[in-house]
């Protein structure tokens, strides 16, 4: 649990500093709704490090830049049922142990370690497919859910939808055939076709 007298923003800001993120652009409103301290300092630091490793800053903002850790904590507080929150916190504990302390590793070490963990965790499993539109069943469903939530939050963010993908809220027209160029990006957002 978080240290007494230090608010969540401060804790999160500290964790963010570990990965060198700028804290200016974060959607801190998301945190306002969080009532209970759901993550320990280590879990929070691991969340930030894992989000940063999964989706780092490149020529576009990364997961931490767009506030995924705060939004993720928002989901733990406002969306997840207790069993889900426990399973996700457990994922963070398992990630925290990687390399003898995941958040403290260098960026390169974090990437190598998480990549190996990810490859094993997402190895296909024989479990029946629960959702035909979801990802195929994987060896470690809790980690799969963790990664999916991080990616969902990132790719629903305005920077990712407009810089990584080519989302427009109001396309205004249907063009049934468009030439593909090196600049063509997926549209993101809702709608199947």
């Amino acid at each position: 649990m978080g240290a007494k007298g230090v608010d969540r923003r401060t804790l999160l800001a500290r964790a963010l500093l570990l990965v060198g993120a700028s804290v200016v652009s974060l959607p801190f409103e998301a945190l306002a709704a969080v009532e209970a301290d759901l993550l320990s300092d280590t879990q929070r630091a691991t969340l930030v490090a894992a989000a940063d490793t999964l989706v780092p800053q490149t020529d576009t903002p990364g997961a931490v830049d767009v506030g995924v850790p705060a939004l993720f904590e928002g989901l733990l507080a406002n969306w997840a049922a207790p069993a889900t929150a426990t399973a996700l916190a457990d994922v963070l504990d398992r990630l925290a142990a990687l390399g003898g302390g995941f958040a403290a590793l260098s960026a390169a070490e974090r990437k190598a370690t998480l990549q190996a963990f990810d490859a094993a965790a997402l190895a296909p499993s024989d479990a029946p497919r629960a959702n035909p539109f979801g990802p195929p069943p994987a060896a470690d469903p809790a980690y799969q859910q963790f990664k999916e939530l991080v990616l969902t939050l990132y790719y629903l963010s305005q920077p990712a939808l407009t810089q990584e993908l080519a989302y427009t809220h109001v396309p205004g027209r249907w063009e049934s055939s468009v030439i593909v160029t090196s600049a063509t990006r997926p549209q993101g957002g809702p709608g199947m076709f």
Binding site: P135, K147, L149, L156, W174
Partner: protein, 562 residues
Amino acid sequence: MFDAIVIGSGMSGGIAAKELCERGLKVLVLERGGDVQPADQTDWMQPWQLPNAGMIPEAELAADYPVQSQCYALSSATKQFFVKDSEQPYQTPADKAFSWIRGYHKGGRSIMWGRQTYRLSEMDFSANARDGVGSDWPIRYADLAPWYDHIEDFIGVSGSMEGLDQLPDGVFLPPFELNDGELQFKSAVESSFPGRKVIPGRVANLREAREHHRAQGRAPCQVRSLCERGCMFKAYHSSLNTSLPAAERTGNMTLVTNAIVHSLVHDPATNRVTGVRVIDAQTRAGTTYEAKVVFSCASTIGTAMILLNSASEAQPRGLANSSDMVGRNLMDHMYQLLTIAVFPDGPDSFYFGRRPTGFYIPRYRNLDGQHEEFLRGYGYQGGFSRNGGPGQVIGQPGLIGEELKAEARKLGPWTMFLGGFGEVLPNPENRVTLYPTLKDKWGLPQAHISASMGENERKMAEQIQRDGRAMAEAAGGIVVTTIDQPGPFGLGIHEMGTACMGKDPTTSVLGKWNQTHDVPNLFITDGAAMASSGCQNPSLTYMAMSARAADAAASMLAEGAL
């Protein structure tokens, strides 16, 4: 005293109200749910503004929406348009699941509907007579054709002219054209399987806003695919966007929300319905409204419940139920018979916009006689997309970091979603009754819904999935997912049949004008009226029947025949 009362403001009630009002009748619309304000529509929300990334909190979902959550359209941005199952209980036998997907509010399910809009054909209206199943429709295609025209013109339907007997053309705005993946599929399917057609999905979204649409304050579809959240452009048909405002403009409509219809008052001396008993959803106060004519448009199951709850000494089995057919013959469409396939050799092109429809494959089995091991047939809805993005990377073990971002930027392979919709036969044992003891929180008896698919449906479902795979593979697709069992009864959200039309008053509830055989001033124009289900999405037919019956009722009233 009103000229007419319309029960329900959804798809059928909105049209009934408009048509009655436009003929000069003073109309009272009784809606059990609340009003819908512009702020309840959430189409303005950007993806990053969706509460909880679009997800309803898990505990709330489990407690309040165990049935509604089976519907693809339920999200944190649309939950205000779905009933809470916890507040609106119903019963089923333990071994017969039924998914009753509902929205109780002004506009009903016309707000969240998928807008797929297809006519029934002559083959459908003569099917029961040909097969000796169910009740022979007292109308044929020619009776409804002008009313299909009338509704399509008013609501705006985008589609292509195809000249198919089994899926008649209509009054169409230009279609949302097929994309290149779909065109390649179309040519493969049509050459490999003569008689099959892949056509643009016909959809009640304005590809163009014509003069009479603009006059209603409607703009063309902005190709956002946010429709189930409502539409600030009023570009798709819903009671909120089109029919209720038209009724309102006549000055003849009074609409009362939170008005739960309990039952109908029947006067045995005149054999007329004289009033409608209502419970206020908030105060629970009771009121009786009077009118010369009553239209029940409370949806298939809702209407059956009202009739059954209106039993009296004179009509002990329920109102207008001398045939014992009220509540029986509950049908739906087999749904969720999915085939998902990827096409590695798809065309090297993309598309722009999020089209509010995809393609449609009209029925091609048993068209000119009985050729299959099952009666009737099925159609498919589907579409091709190249989504890319996060969905493309999550399933790839070990993909993280810069490489993940780079991969998510790529267009995905052309991926086809193909969903069969199979006709379900009328079966009197598939049935809605009033539960003898359990009540809802307003003291009304809960529905007991007992329905299951039969042998005909089982054989058809197998063929739907065989054909789905064969079409995907003939077009170069690799099938990645199939679902072999149709979803639960009801999940097609095309429930219908509980007060069937027919020629014979001893085996049907409604005559050719949707007027009950037993009580002349009582009309039913929602899905309850359907004598067979066809395989086409049914709402257009409910609306066409509503308009036709309203016209007939207004004439009968003027002639003093009611």
